[in-house]
Symmetry: C2
Subunit: 334 residues, 2 copies
């Protein structure tokens, strides 16, 4: 493309927003003017972009008519208020806050269902799914299996709860190692050297909102709206990177070598198998691919497949997919 | 019972052995003479029992004819060599090393299948299953469900790998917080602030020995030898206590209130549900019960049940069950 695109990043001071700006630079998008925006208290900070310092301005009062594309990475409340304003100004939107319905904003993962863009009409609004759904969908889309059921235990790092949660894991850990009293703040109890059974309050039926969201996202991304999906999101004492323990049931057994070859060839996926296995910290963090390992059939069910997935929740699971969606939007529409 | 039983504890200096001695005291078994045994290098240490100091002696050359009951908590190699010797002397054995076949030593959990003792004949040799199997079986036995499939992700604490692994988690954590170079020894990579996809090397089909063992134990304990069981054992940066994420498929939906009431009434099980959830560190460690929470049906399958279980792997999962089995053996046979 010859012309440039003026872009706004909302939530530029958060982990995802900051990583997004970094990826925009790395991937050399033809960015015209880059507007960094945040809510009141974060405005005034600045980020570097192509060697220049860009100040983060207050979102309040920003004229979305100045940009052709906006990334929303500031949470549901901000998306709920400002996405309609941006769209009304003709600005294309990529929302990372998961606050929109799939009718309002199709959920798209670049490697999984880019065809969803074919049927878009103005205003162009896309949703980048939750990080666990992005990672798992990249792997599932590669597998030549007729899926009958997904059972997922997603072990989420504290970075999925924001910067304060990252600081709290470090602080709690130091407090425990120094035999000082524990002071939980972001978390409701000890997260250091512990695993929490949920990442948010459960609803009346016992599910967390993210668990419901991941199931719905996978059904949409895989175009299997009736697929049974069991999701348990747990909080692990890990700073960055999600780890997914996945068990799949399929209509028929497929040879493991066929499945491994498919994973080996899949875009956005790296297979680490045989005598090794991937981890969030050792492999996934900072990378543009989803790592998959421990590929094995069921102990007594050949149509069962078990997998382990490690992925950078901030980068691959959020910022990178959003930028990939932007590239698709620019190519097709802007 | 009026008479006392002379007892040997093999592996007395390990976490499980030490906890076992403590529980023998707590539960006030009519212990006559207590012999504490360990392999060469650990001999010479001592433990307290009912206010007296008991020296740990070398297992080599011990005369099992002196005792009526022996606990083996020193690993497969030791059990493999000395259990036959003990049994030949007429000594009843409770093996915690899982090295015997179920034909040699029925696997028993006190709350689950005590009826397995009815068909015992001399020599009395029982196996206490792995800690995750003990915990999960206690919960499953309580549920009025016709199980069709179990999918388990077991997040194991480092204590399941022994005392050196506990020290290593502390050491690695301190090294990382102090920005010093990491020196993995027990683990093959960073375990601090990370999750490892497996707890041991995988076999040719991709399964770990413990994963196979847990599946076989559950099938035996539940008397469902054909039940499909998917097991993934991961290593968590937690010192003590196992956390299990479980998804069950059953023949038909059972109302959640019925299932919760069954868990509430079950021996050895504590339900922490509704607005709370149990954790390994906060609830299970040091306790004689298995904690269960996050009891919920499938998102789109009412015959699916999801659970979270936290249990003390050393105490409830190993030492306590072994002592409970001893109580049953003494009551029925000794």
């Amino acid at each position: 493309m010859s012309r440039t695109v003026d872009i706004a990043v909302i939530g530029a001071t958060g982990s995802v927003g900051e990583t997004l700006v970094q990826i925009l630079e790395e991937r050399d998008l033809a960015v015209g003017t880059l507007h960094l925006l945040a809510s009141g208290e974060s405005a005034g900070q600045s980020l570097s972009f192509h060697g220049k310092t860009v100040r983060v301005r207050d979102l309040e009062g920003f004229d979305f008519g100045q940009v052709q594309l906006a990334f929303f990475a500031a949470g549901r409340k901000v998306s709920g208020k400002y996405v309609p304003i941006a769209a009304a100004k003709g600005c294309a939107v990529i929302d990372l806050a998961s606050g929109l319905t799939s009718a309002q904003a199709p959920r798209v993962v670049a490697e999984v269902n880019p065809q969803a863009l074919a049927s878009l009409s103005k205003p162009y609004v896309l949703s980048s799914p939750s990080a666990p759904a992005v990672a798992l969908a990249c792997v599932l889309a590669a597998l030549p299996l007729e899926l009958r059921r997904i059972t997922l235990t997603a072990c989420l790092s504290v970075s999925s709860r924001g910067r304060e949660a990252v600081k709290e894991l470090a602080r709690q850990t130091a407090q425990l190692l120094n035999a000082k009293p524990l002071e939980p703040q972001v978390f409701d109890r000890q997260i250091a050297f512990n695993l929490l059974a949920q990442v948010e309050a459960s609803d009346e039926e016992g599910h967390g909102a993210l668990e419901r969201q991941i199931a719905a996202e996978l059904q949409e991304l895989l175009a299997q709206p009736e697929l049974p999906v069991a999701v348990t999101c747990i909080q692990a004492p890990v700073f960055f990177g999600d780890s997914l323990s996945v068990s799949l049931q399929s209509a028929a057994a497929v040879p493991l070598n066929t499945l491994r070859a498919a994973l080996d060839a899949a875009p956005g996926v790296e297979l680490v198998d045989a005598d090794d296995y991937p981890t969030a910290v050792g492999d996934a963090v900072g990378q543009d691919v989803v790592y998959v390992g421990r590929v094995r059939a069921g102990l007594n069910d050949p149509a069962e497949l078990n997998l382990w997935i490690a992925s950078d929740n901030v980068r691959k699971g959020a910022a990178l997919n959003a930028v990939q969606l932007a590239e698709l939007l620019i190519k097709h529409y802007l």
